[in-house]
Symmetry: C2
Subunit: 335 residues, 2 copies
Amino acid sequence: MKDLNEYKRELSQAGQFIKQHDNYLIVSHINPDGDTISSSLTMALLLRFLGKSFTLVNEDPIPDKFNFLPLSDQILSISEIKNTFSHVITVDVADQKRMGMISPLLTDDVEILNIDHHPTNDRFGHLNVILPTAAATCEIMYDLVKELNIPLSQDLASCIYTGLLTDTGGFRYTNTSPKVMRIAAELLEYGVSPGEIAEIALETISKNHISVLQIALSHLQVIENGFIAWTYLKANELPQDVTSDDTEGIVNYTRNIEGVEVGIFFKEVKGNVFKISLRSKKYVDVGAIAKAYHGGGHARASGFTFYGDLEEVLQQLIDAIKQSEGWKYLENKSN
Amino acid sequence: MKDLNEYKRELSQAGQFIKQHDNYLIVSHINPDGDTISSSLTMALLLRFLGKSFTLVNEDPIPDKFNFLPLSDQILSISEIKNTFSHVITVDVADQKRMGMISPLLTDDVEILNIDHHPTNDRFGHLNVILPTAAATCEIMYDLVKELNIPLSQDLASCIYTGLLTDTGGFRYTNTSPKVMRIAAELLEYGVSPGEIAEIALETISKNHISVLQIALSHLQVIENGFIAWTYLKANELPQDVTSDDTEGIVNYTRNIEGVEVGIFFKEVKGNVFKISLRSKKYVDVGAIAKAYHGGGHARASGFTFYGDLEEVLQQLIDAIKQSEGWKYLENKSN
């Protein structure tokens, strides 16, 4: 656990840095998600309040659904920016690679303030504010707003709320801490619309996702007395421009079915190469099963890559599941 | 808005009532949901702490997914109870009909404490604690726990959290107030597992739901340049024991698709009788459209019943949507 005094010192140094300079480049990470976008817009609003100028950059385009956030239309692509910056603030960026190809925008004597919550952050900044226990970088942004005595506004509150909401999966992941909920409570006092933001940020379905979901559900089967559900997507069924975001969450449709203990999702990334996701509800250690295939994960969620025949690996998996301690316990329980 | 002093007075009277008597019947509402079950178990835990005896009753069985809640196995059906009660506490029950057929369990001189958050509550109790601004009856239960100075425990916190979570749709409905979030923050301090509870209470998919979803998604079509999505379920496609819970949320798969403004779901309840749900994202007033068919609802969510041919009413609806002000605005915007 990080020493909270150290964190407070980092916050205070970040506050000084922000007050001392001007003309900032604010960098969010490639393939931007709700937390990095919201953190970068929070920083922009904060700098605007302090009368500082800033430029927002992201190597990749911002997903349309985040258009509702204030200043989101001011996030530029790298090629749109012609000048260079000697003061850079990165948000939710765990290492330099995640900044994208922004080096042409930096002066030789650039100073970087690195604000992040990833435990893997390599402290690449000249100043670093890293709190691995924070649920979202927006949680640190909230602390920074307080550190700088900046009054909350509906705009600031909406940004911070969006970051908290998206990085906790709608207050559903284990990182949903009392602090997250207390901050959310305070933000709601400033006119944040929890329903509207959740609908836009969490419930929007991409066109590709609905396509692959249609196919995956048509393949879904519940087997072994209702304890295992599985489905697959063949490479030739996937839309050309499918991303891993589009197929995310499909495994949950197998695992979440009432009575199902293990859910399995096979995604054929190319001919006979499958990415396999395993999920369990309560008893079966799917981490151990994935490990036997040189995969990773933990007891309730794991995955691995398999080269070969789908039917063959499915049968192997069913056998492995049925030999697990958890399965035996479950079978005894339900007899 | 209810006078907060009046509410405090009601809470204090409820506290007196609870302390003065013993041997309570705790009644939750028929077709029990997360809030009524959690409120009734909160009441049971509270009475147990005070050394009082109680019997829990519900006319209907408790959905399996709520088995994780403490004392949930003690909720009895009416026929299992042989004695009568002169002190009854109802939770989340808006009127006497919602109590179910419990009159054989009551003495002639029964006194009822009625705790509820429905604005429609008809104050059928001898004592009533009604707070229509509460997001859930469990919010009132939290206030009662504080009123009685009962220390929070993990069990109490898990019950109250489950009620708040389910009645706010996972902190996504507009009733998600700062107070709800502050209570949730405090409850998390007592070892509540937000992820586990959300998974069980919100993400469990019934077998019938997965069946109807498979069919509904296979019928789903996106039309009118991606602005309208619609799907249907024919009566002969529905499982025999389908409930309205099983088909709930299907309309969201149409409306939530990126770029879609209006989502339409037709459920054929019997031959050529359709229940039609309309949802819009931002511009089209689907409440006005449903009203023209003698339906109800509001600008973003409405519904009506139609007797006739699906293709015919679909074409009528498309015409009505395209003639709406919102649609014209949207078309201008996207040209």
